[in-house]
């Protein structure tokens, strides 16, 4: 998935595409990430599913912004379609707004590929 270079080029540390069951579909990082991607994907899928279920409980279709801010690393989740999610891990040098714009573009591109 060359597309994710769209994200790494703006300073995202790591981009992962997972399915809602927690399987990693694709992963790309800047070479300086050393965390356990397999476990991360499982937790991320669980986290996303839990937030999704909470949204339904309060009568929302979904929460469109799903984001955790840390001191050095932040995590941004977005839904590509019913089956797959895009997760970006980024530092303070990337603004959330810019990242959201970029992920929207990338999601459209992934949907095109997925639809084939």
């Amino acid at each position: 998935m060359v597309l994710k270079e769209d994200l790494l080029s703006i300073g995202v540390h790591c981009a992962i595409i997972i399915d809602v069951a927690g399987n990693t579909i694709a992963q790309l990082d800047n070479g300086r990430c050393s965390f356990d991607v397999v476990s991360f994907a499982a937790l991320a899928a669980g986290n996303f599913a839990a937030v999704d279920a909470m949204a339904k409980l309060v009568g929302e279709q979904q929460f469109s912004l799903h984001f955790h801010r840390g001191e050095n690393e932040s995590i941004h989740f977005s839904k590509v379609n019913e089956d797959i999610l895009l997760i970006c891990i980024f530092g303070q040098d990337v603004s959330l707004g810019f990242l959201r714009l970029k992920t929207t573009e990338v999601i459209d591109k992934i949907r095109l590929i997925w639809g084939r």
Partner: protein, 201 residues
């Protein structure tokens, strides 16, 4: 169905340990983690309460080697067993490929086994899966308690309660001592891979 990555020549399979609370699901994973420490590259992930009860799930990835050039990666999950956590159980069952139902041999847990199995069938239906079709293995756990004089159900009673209609393989085991834990795992992996192959053909 599991996930196949053709580019990386990799197959990912999700196996869920299901069953009533305090039945030994997490203990099964703990034992597997200890036993195959060298082959499991990562730490087991557990989301649990302060009282050491599973809150969301436990997660343990295991690589079992190659089949036809494809790396087989098994992902083991447990669900929280406590009755109130059904919403989370449903979430964990999403995309499941094979299930181990860990039932409790103790006489007083007979009802919880039955209820948990019934609820599992319903939960599977909500994901359009059928308990009669998905690879499923039963484990009658806690046989070690018989030495402590705790009243246990007999295997016949367990079979009648839980396996009369399902007719799936079962193991009498002890997750704590490790009896039949590995056998259960091997059985569910081979059943899942066989059903996987059938689906692909």
């Amino acid at each position: 169905m599991g996930f196949i990555n053709v580019k990386k020549k990799e197959v990912q399979i999700k196996i869920v340990y299901y069953g009533p609370g305090r039945g030994g699901k997490t203990t099964n994973l703990d034992y597997i983690n200890k036993k195959y420490k060298q082959r499991i590259k990562t730490e087991m992930v557990s989301i649990k309460t302060h009282g050491d009860r599973t809150l969301f799930f436990d997660f343990l990835p295991v690589d079992i080697g190659k089949i036809h050039g494809f790396d087989i990666k098994i992902q083991l999950y447990t669900v929280p067993g406590q009755v109130k956590y059904n919403a989370t159980r449903k979430l964990v069952l999403k995309g499941v490929d094979g299930i181990v139902f860990v039932a409790d041999l103790q006489k007083e847990r007979r009802d919880s086994n039955l209820k948990s199995l019934e609820q599992m069938k319903e939960n599977l239906l909500s994901h359009n899966k059928d308990a009669f079709k998905i690879p499923l293995v039963l484990q009658y756990n806690k046989i070690d308690l018989q030495n402590q004089g705790i009243p246990l159900l007999t295997v016949e009673e367990m079979e009648q309660d839980l396996n009369q209609e399902l007719r799936v393989p079962y193991f009498v085991g002890s997750a704590l001592a490790g009896d039949n834990v590995v056998e259960t795992l091997k059985k569910i992996i081979s059943m899942t891979l066989i059903s996987f192959r059938k689906e692909l053909q």
